[in-house]
Symmetry: C2
Subunit: 317 residues, 2 copies
């Protein structure tokens, strides 16, 4: 069963890890958001890609969910001594990833090629594809004006209220042939419990990408999403507050409504805590599955993955 998973950062990485544990090796392709990418110290940093990479390589820091376990910070300490800003704290091993990528890009490689080579070097059996090879930069409007995403997310700890979101450069971006081919040959599409606005949102905004998913769904390929908001609270990050400040329900219902409106999914998994929302979500013409969705360890990651793949298999019949 060839599976395509749309993912952002930590939540997406966890579900991708669960999927990698239950599908045959090589059958999983993760399409990751690149709207969070940033330029730092002359390097292109891809936080969502790297989080998925390290998680699928089995080396992610188990406490914070991103970065590499046992990381050191010698370079960052020296950059601080030189008076450089280090609010986006880069670990030494993580910097090796960025240097690996930088060299591939310098000699004319596409970001997708660098990504595929990185996954190989990290012995990851799955494919992790940037949503696009073109630079897309998520920006959020707040009381302090338009902010780069990581300025909002890391530097300001997601504290400012988000009034508006845009994806700079997305109109001239395009889905890569690798992304289109993965969707074309997929048996199931899985949407991870990532932020629907700033993680899944940029992926869907890449011209041609949602079209490819729509075409697959017309051919009967099931598309199953899951809410990253449980009991009205985002499991991680600011998705609940963002939905509210943008005028949506800060709940699984709000997430479902976004995906239904986009035509992204046919089945939606909600947590047992949110069972009461099922009727309203079914009114959006979505099949609803109620399950334990909170991933606290490898087992629960695999369980949620299996739940979603079972729902996909059921939808195919």
């Amino acid at each position: 069963m060839r599976v395509v998973c749309l993912a952002g950062g930590v939540g997406g990485a966890k579900l991708a890890d669960g999927l990698q544990r239950v599908v045959a090796p090589g059958e999983l392709t993760v399409i990751v958001n690149t709207g969070d990418d940033l330029n730092l110290h002359g390097l292109t940093i891809c936080p969502d890609f790297d989080t998925v990479l390290y998680t699928l390589a089995g080396i992610a820091d188990p406490v914070q969910g991103w970065g590499i376990a046992g990381e050191t910070f010698e370079v960052a300490a020296q950059l601080a001594r030189l008076g450089e800003e280090t609010w986006f704290r880069l670990g030494d091993r993580d910097i090796a990833t960025h240097l690996f990528r930088a060299e591939r890009l310098r000699v004319g490689g596409r970001p997708t090629e660098a990504a595929l080579e990185l996954a190989t070097r990290f012995n990851v059996p799955s494919r992790i594809l940037p949503m696009s090879d073109t630079s897309v930069r998520t920006r959020v409007r707040t009381d302090s004006g338009w902010l780069d995403f990581q300025d909002y997310f890391v530097r300001r700890h997601q504290e400012p209220e988000v009034i508006e979101v845009k994806f700079d450069g997305v109109e001239t971006a395009s889905a890569t042939r690798e992304v289109k081919e993965a969707i074309r040959s997929a048996d199931a599409i899985i949407v991870a419990p990532s932020n629907p606005i700033v993680s899944i949102g940029p992926i869907l905004a890449v011209p041609g990408l949602l079209d490819a998913i729509t075409a697959a769904r017309r051919r009967g390929v099931p598309s199953v999403g899951v809410s990253g908001i449980v009991g009205g609270k985002a499991l991680r990050g600011p998705a609940d507050r963002m939905l509210a400040s943008l005028g949506d329900d800060p709940s699984a219902l709000g997430v479902a409504r976004r995906y239904a409106t986009a035509g992204l999914i046919d089945t939606f998994v909600i947590d047992v805590q949110d069972e009461s929302l099922a009727p309203e979500i079914e009114d959006l013409e979505l099949q609803v599955i109620v399950a334990d969705t909170v991933m606290t360890n490898s087992q629960s990651r695999a369980d949620l993955a299996r739940t979603m793949l079972d729902a996909a298999a059921a939808a195919r019949q």
Copy 2:
């Protein structure tokens, strides 16, 4: 007394350190070779500049003469795990320098601007200027064909015989306004005991640079060189073998002849071991000073600097 010093790597850095110890703060400008620069892991590395920078900042590794004392190698270890070539072994703190530079270049800064800012951040009281803002790459022809300089120098341990040398890109390079201004306002020009072919050679090959020195000399500004070859042996590196394989005397006389032919200097300092070469060097119409030239500690660096500045002062009178 405003002093301009032409320098390559370790030998140049040692004399620059001596000069910085004996001139008033801010009176020293070091013009460094950039022909040894290389692109590695997506970064521009400037080995000669960095060696001078770390030495003048007082943080150079005292044993090897380049790199930073107490350096760690976490990034390099991870790059090796990823299968990357690490023959040019970058330390973590050193990488911070390269990232600092990379960010300045990324946003459109000139290499000279990045260099001046780095010296400020490292609290260096002198100015260290790249010989040019344009990329120049020294290449050497050997039995294995044309090699990039660091491939020859670091990776192959200077073992192949050098048959020919070229400075790729130098014809379209130019002396920066900072370099020209430093030479224009200099009271003395000092040529460090660096490799005359691949350290001083590229500096002299930058269009406009030797012209500026010639103009200064015509105004009576003294120019004093010193031999990096003592007793027929290079104090460090392959200068002796290179001079021989290129058909020159592998001695202080060979170095003197190169500088005299270029019209670079009027006074040449040779070691007491080479006193017997003085008559032949004087035949090149150079004033000869015999002194202890081997720099083994801070005191001998300062002593050689003072010897050269005294020679310059005497030549002015």
